[in-house]
Structure formats: C-alpha cells, structure tokens
C-alpha cells in the first residue's frame, strides 16, 4: 500500500524461504559450533590430547569458512530480502527495535573479530588466551542469537507490545524464552552434526571412535533439548493455543508441525547412532543426517512463519502493510484511497486499475502459476464465481487480510483476475472421487473444512441430494460472509455427490502456504 511490490514469478515467500532456511541452519551452527570449539579444545588441553587439539584446529578452519562467509553474508541477505519483500514490516521492526539491531551489530563485530583471532591464533596465542578468545566468540555469537530472537519472536507473538509499544515488552514477548532454548539447543545439535561430518573423514581408529562418540553426544543432547523446548514453545503461542479452530483453518499448518515432529524424531534417531555405536558411523550417513536436520529446521521455521499470517506483526500489521489501526479508514474509504502506487492509467483504464490493486494487495502473497498461484483455481471459475468471492476474501479460511473494495474496485479486481485465467478451462480429475473432492476444494472448501473449521458435517449429514441442490440455489442467503454458488453444471453435480456422502476428509489440491 505504501511501497511498490516486487513482482516475482516464483513468489516472494519462496525467495525468503530459500534464503532463510539456509541461513538459519548455518547461523545456528555459528553459535553452537562456538561452544563446541571451546569446550572440545579445553577438554583436549586438560587431557593433553594432541589428536583432539589437531581435530579442533582443523575443524575451526571449516567452521570459519562456513560461518564467517556463508553465515554472515546470508544473514545480511535475509535482511536485504525482507526489505525487498516486506519493506513496511522491515521498516516497522527497525523503528521499534533499531537499538536491538544496533546492539546485535556490536556483538556481530566482536564475534567476527574473535573468530578471526581464534583461527589465526592457533599455536601462536598461549593456550589459555586462545581459550578465552574462544569464549569471547561463543558469548558474542550467542548474544546475537539472543537479541535477534527477541525481534523474530515478536513478529509472531507481539503480546503486550500492542498496548504499550514498549521495546522491552515486545522483546520479552510470550515466546521469547522457549525460543531462546530451542535455538540454543538447535545450535548445539547442529554443531554435533557438522563435527560428525568432519569426524567421518578421519582414518578409522581409536581417536575417530572417541571423537565420534563425543560429537554424537552433542547432536543428541542438542536435539533432545530442542524437543523439550518445542513443547514449551507450542504452549506459549497464544494464537495457536487460544484458538484451535484457527489451526484447523490452515490445514497445512498442522501438517508442517507434524513434519517438524517427525523430523526431530528422525534426526535424533540418527544422532544416537554415533553416540552408542561410534564404530558404525560413516561418511554415507552424513548427508542423510544433514538433510534430515536441514528439513526439520526448515519445517520449524515454516510453522512459525505460517502461524503468523495474515500478519507480518501479529495484531499490528498485515502482510500487505495494512495496519490494523487503519482498518476502519480503509473500510470507509475503499482501497484505492490507501494505495500509493496506482498508475496514472488506472484513473481511466479499469483493467489497469485492477492490475494495480492486485499488485498492491494480492501479490505480496500470490503468484499466477508459482508459489500460492491463483491460476489453477481461476481455471475452474467463471466470472460470477470470481465476482462472488472477491467481496468475501477475508472470510476464506486461508486467513487473508481484509479486502475493503468498493463496488468499482471489486469490479476492477474481477476484471484483472479474469485476465489471469488460463486460456484452457480447468479439467476435473478423471477419478470420480478425486473430482468430487476437487469440486469442493474450489468452492466451499475455500472457507470450510469438512469437519474442523466451520464444519459442515452436521449440517449435511441428514440432507439428500435434492435438498442439497436446493441449498446451493440459495447458498448466498446462508450468512452475510458467505457467497452464493455459481459453479458449472458439472462442478455442481460433483459437489452435490460430495456433500451427500459426507464422510471423507477433503484435502485441498495444489494448495500451499505463504
């Protein structure tokens, strides 16, 4: 609304996801790996274990190359990316938390200096000083995590900040502490995983067995810690616990959470192998462990992001940049009055008006054919259907930001959506049951799930096909928030069959998260 929107055919969410999942994996390694380095070094010094010292030294080079280069630059990269994709959100966070970021920058400064001194100081600094530098590294790296954690968790659980707009209220928000624990343990676990990789390259022998067991311990303890703190975390996310219906509204969210849980179990199962059977651990298992770890981490971050929508900052700002505080004004004035980036042509050209509105209010989350693409749905819809849905967008179970279009604006948006429709009309699946499910997904399923969110089961259990047919004629009278039904004859027939035999759980085809 305030800023132009970058048109990305892959989808904005996709770009963020790629950059951040990679960064998050490495940046947690940068924290946990720091502790691994100092503790393993200290242990080797105490036990006069030269082999272990050599291993730490060798690993520290890999550590530096991965964390200082990829970790640091991709971190700046996330920041650049969210600035491109969510400028309003970034701006708000910076205004609220610039001192947090500035302080994080100070720790970043110490962290980098310490990493370099630690690496270049091997065999030059005396052992005690070298260990101290390692501690300086770990503490500053962990403090960076601590601070960024305050800002990231704030976005999902803004808590009391909504009332007082105070820095510390937002910082120590309801998920702050559980998240600090999850992230710290994740760091230790990932440190174990990466060192298991280095260890797998050692020649077979007593030392390899020893160090593999030690690293396996790190990985296992780390992941176990993540599991425990994740339970605590889940209980602290107000929007999830206080409103279970909402969870049902986003079928993909429970799926992602389930994926995260399965991922954790898989990861820890792999981690105990080197701990209990260090001799069995080998190079072949490394890629598997790292992949499972990365995917698990990705699922965790994805759940956090998905749980936040349709907000960038829970309760304060929607993904489109619309402020909750401005909603009344939008409802009164319509959208164009609050859309900065309307082209001059939009004054006279309805199609262009629709395009500009779409760019400002839909494109932040949707693409045509890519991530969260609309074309696969539009292919099945006629103009009446699209026109009936547009005024009801915020009632869809996807939890979209409100759309307060005036009649003229709605018409323009419909024109634009019609222009996005693929030339070929959508084809229903050949399998009859799949076609029924599909027919539901592209109509009622946009706002209802069969038995979780705005459940329809009770309502339709006792109805026969004829009654359902009649119901569809007057569907628009059901509730103010609900549109009428305008599907084609074929779709209607399938839908009736589906509702008539209400016992299968429908899944949304082609759906995805944002």
């Amino acid at each position: 609304m305030n800023y132009p929107v970058w048109e990305l055919s892959m989808g904005a969410g996709m770009l963020i996801a790629v950059v951040s999942i990679l960064h998050v994996f490495v940046s947690h390694f940068a924290v946990g790996g720091g502790l691994w380095l100092v503790l393993t070094e200290a242990r080797a010094n105490r036990q006069n274990d030269e082999e272990a010292r050599g291993f730490v030294k060798k690993h520290s080079r890999f550590f530096m190359l991965v964390t200082l280069v990829f970790g640091a630059i991709s971190g700046v990269g996330i920041w650049a990316t969210i600035g491109l994709i969510s400028p309003h959100g970034t701006s708000a966070l910076i205004h609220g938390f610039v001192w947090g970021w500035a302080i994080e920058w100070i720790f970043f400064f110490v962290e980098i200096a310490a990493a370099l001194v630690y690496y270049y100081g091997w065999e030059k600094l005396d052992r005690r000083t070298h260990e101290i530098v390692g501690w300086v590294y770990f503490i500053s790296a962990w403090m960076s995590l601590f601070i960024i954690n305050g800002i990231v968790t704030f976005m999902l659980t803004s808590g009391g900040w909504l009332e007082n707009h105070e820095f510390w209220t937002g910082f120590f928000n309801p998920t702050f502490w559980p998240s600090v624990f999850i992230r710290s343990f994740a760091g230790f676990g990932i440190a174990g995983m990466f060192t298991l990789m280095t260890a797998a390259n050692l020649p077979l022998g007593d030392f390899r067995t020893r160090i593999t067991r030690w690293n396996g311990g790190w990985a296992t303890v780390g992941i176990a810690g993540v599991m425990a703190s994740a339970v605590w975390y889940g209980r602290s996310v107000g929007v999830w616990t206080e409103n279970e219906a909402l969870l049902g509204a986003i079928p993909v969210l429970p799926k992602v959470v389930a994926l995260f849980k399965i991922g954790l179990v898989a990861t820890i199962s792999l981690c105990v192998i080197p701990l209990l059977l260090p001799k069995v651990w080998n190079k072949g298992l490394v890629p598997m462990l790292l992949t499972v770890g990365l995917l698990t981490m990705g699922a965790g971050e994805w759940a956090r992001e998905a749980g936040r929508k349709p907000f960038v900052i829970q309760g304060y700002m929607y993904s489109t940049g619309m402020l909750v505080a401005d909603e009344e004004a939008l409802a009164a004035d319509g959208m164009i009055a609050h859309t900065k980036w309307m082209s001059p042509e939009s004054l006279t050209d309805e199609a262009r008006r629709g395009q500009d509105l779409y760019a400002a209010w839909c494109q932040p989350c949707h693409t045509t054919n890519g991530y969260n693409g609309l074309a696969p749905f539009l292919a099945h819809w006629n103009e009446e259907t699209i026109a009936s849905l547009v005024p009801h967008l915020q009632h869809m179970r996807a939890l979209m930001p409100p759309w307060y279009g005036t009649e003229e604006e709605n018409a323009a948006l419909v024109t634009h959506l019609m222009s996005m429709k693929p030339a070929e009309p959508g084809v229903m699946p050949a399998d009859r049951q799949a076609a029924r499910i599909k027919s539901f997904a592209i109509s009622c399923g946009l706002c209802h799930t069969p038995n979780a969110y705005r459940s329809l089961t009770d309502f339709f259990t006792d109805m026969n096909a004829e009654e359902i047919d009649e119901f569809l004629d007057d569907a628009g009278d059901m509730a103010d928030e609900m549109p009428g039904y305008f599907g084609t004859e074929e779709q209607r027939e399938l839908l009736i069959e589906y509702l008539d035999a209400f016992d299968e759980v429908a899944t949304r085809p082609g759906g995805s998260e944002s």
Binding site: N2, Y3, P4, V5, W6, E7, L8, V19, L65, L68, V69, A72, I73, S74, V76, G77, T81, G83, L84, P87, T90, S91, A92, I94, H95, G96, F97, V98, W99, G100, W101, A102, I103, W105, I106, F107, F108, F109, V110, I112, A113, A114, L116, V117, Y120, G121, K124, L125, D126, T129, V133, V136, H165, F167, K340, W341, M342, S343, P344, D356
Partner: protein, 371 residues
Amino acid sequence: MITSILSTIVPAPDALPLPAPAPVLFFLQQLTFLLHLLAMNALLGGLIITLVARIRSKGPDDHWAQLADSIAKTSPSLVAATVNMGVAPLLFLQTLMGQFFFTSSILMGWGWFSVVVVMIFAYYGTYLQSFKGASLGKSQKPILAVTVLLFLWVGFMFTNNNTLMLQVGQWAGMYFADARGLHLNLGDPQLWPRYLHMVLGAVAVGGLMLAWWGRVRHLRGDERGAFMVKVGVDNFTWLTLVNILVGLWFFMALPSDVRKLFMGGDPGASAMFGIGLVLGIGMFVLGFLARLRGPNVRLVMPTAMTVVQMIVMITMRDVVRNGFLGDLYKPAEFAVKTQMFNVVAFFVLLVGAVFTVIWMVRKLYLSWDNN
C-alpha cells in the same frame, strides 16, 4: 504540480516513532559509514593493486609477486571488516530514509538481491587467494580478476541504489512499466562519475594504507617495505589527481539546482566544496613530495588530510541527498520517542566491544611477533 504527483508515490514515513532523535541516528550513520569506507578502501583498493601486481609480475619471487602475496593474505579479514562496518550505516539509513531506500531497492530488486549472492562468491574468492595462493597455478590470476569484478559489481549496485533512491521523479515511470525489479539507475548522469569517484578513491586511499604498511616494514628492516611504499604512494598521488577531475565531472553531472547549493546557494555547502578542492590538491602535492623521499616518506600529513577529506565528502554527499529530495524528506518532522536505556546500553556495549577487540587483536599481534 510535480510534488503533488510525487507525494502520492513517495511512501509515508513509518507510523512508529523514531527510537532516538534523528540527529543521533544520523551521526551514527555518518560515523559508521566513514569506518565502512576505510575498510572498503583497504579491501577494494588492495585487491585492485594486487591484480595489477599479479599482472605485472614476471616471476614468482619478484617485487610485484611479493606485494601481491602480502596483500592477498589480508583480504578475507578486510571483507569481514567491510561487511560488518557496512551493516551499521545501512541500518541507520533504513531507519531514517527507509521511504526512499526501500523503494529504490525494490525497483532494482534483482540487482540489489544479487549483492548477497555475489558477495558470497567474492568472499570465497579472497579466501582462495589467501589460503591457496600460488598453488592455484594458472587459475590464480583469473580467479583474482573475477573476484575483483565481483566486488566492483557489489559497489556498482550500491551506487545504483544510493542514486536511484534520490530519483523520485523516475520511480513511477519505471515501476509501472515493469515491476519485476529489473531496473538500474543507468539513466542518471551522476551514476558513472559517482561510481568512478568512489572506486578511484578506494585505490588511492588503499594505496596510502599500503604505504603505511610498507613504511612499518621498512623501519623493521624488511626489504619488501620500500617497494610497498613506492607503489602505495604512487597510487595515492596519481589517482588523487585523476579523482579531482572525476570529482569535477561528478559535480557537473548533478542537476543545476543541486549544483547551485555548492556555488553560493548554501554557504556551508559551498565552503565544504572549496575545502574539498583545496584538500584534494593538497593531497596530490604532498603525495608528490612524499614520492621524492623514497621509503622514508612522511605520511602523517597526507593521511590527516585524507581523513578530513573523507569526512568532507561524506558530508557533501548528504547535501546532495537533501538537494535532490528537498521537501519530500523532512526528518525534523518525524515523531520521536527516545529509548533512553537502549541508547545508553548501546554506547556502553560499544565501548566494551572496542576494548575487547583491541585486547584480542593486540594479543594476536604480539604473539605473531614472537613466532
């Protein structure tokens, strides 16, 4: 009329108040930007000098090769310093001028995003030079050349963004013609001279730093020192001269109303412009005289002048900014709600951090000597 169209396009300032008075944030922005420039000049200037040295080197042990080997070892740490010192001014810039900066970033979306990817490769390029060095064999020179090009690309994107954010009048035309983030600011006459001014300045200042390094080595009886001084001072002197001319080109490329600010329109700006010219000529003259003294150069005066010059340039840069934006940017009108505790915490931690880093680096430096 124009402002009325523009004001519908320019994003409104953020709804949340600034967490400190604008001048405090502005001061920090300028200060950290100066530090960023110093690190960047050492890095980019050093890399370009290294590339030239590799090209001129006739054998693995001649002066040029030794010079290149020495500098190549420093590059990775200088990248770290440049990035770190760059984050801070970017943060404060986004706080104060996000309305402009985010918008231009989006218009050049892919170009801006490319900085991240390119930086990662360029950074690894410096590590390859530092760790692998001669063992890269035939590919050493091409890898170095690509690394330099990648860093030049990064700088070019920064210049594009920093100038596009001022071209408010161009935004609507660009965005409504194509929203895919493929624009650059190539149509802006100040783009090329401004970029060139920065790059040449980096090599000149990088040269001065090299001269210092050579001087220290020379005093310690390291025979590689004298050549470093010579190359450093040469670069400093001649590129400063060229850069005065490029600076004038940059000046001529500014719109006349901005230029007029430096020609009496704004007394402070005009004075600064005069001082800048005098300092530039002074740097050249002192550099020229320094060359005559061989490895026993006196570097304090030219260095002092250079630092002052950089401050003058950074300040003039801001005058240009305000000249372009005029009434569209009024930081004095931003709401402010100072987070006093955080401001104090920031400065206390900063002092602590500086001491910690000095302590660590000193330890390393001393131990390096002993070994």
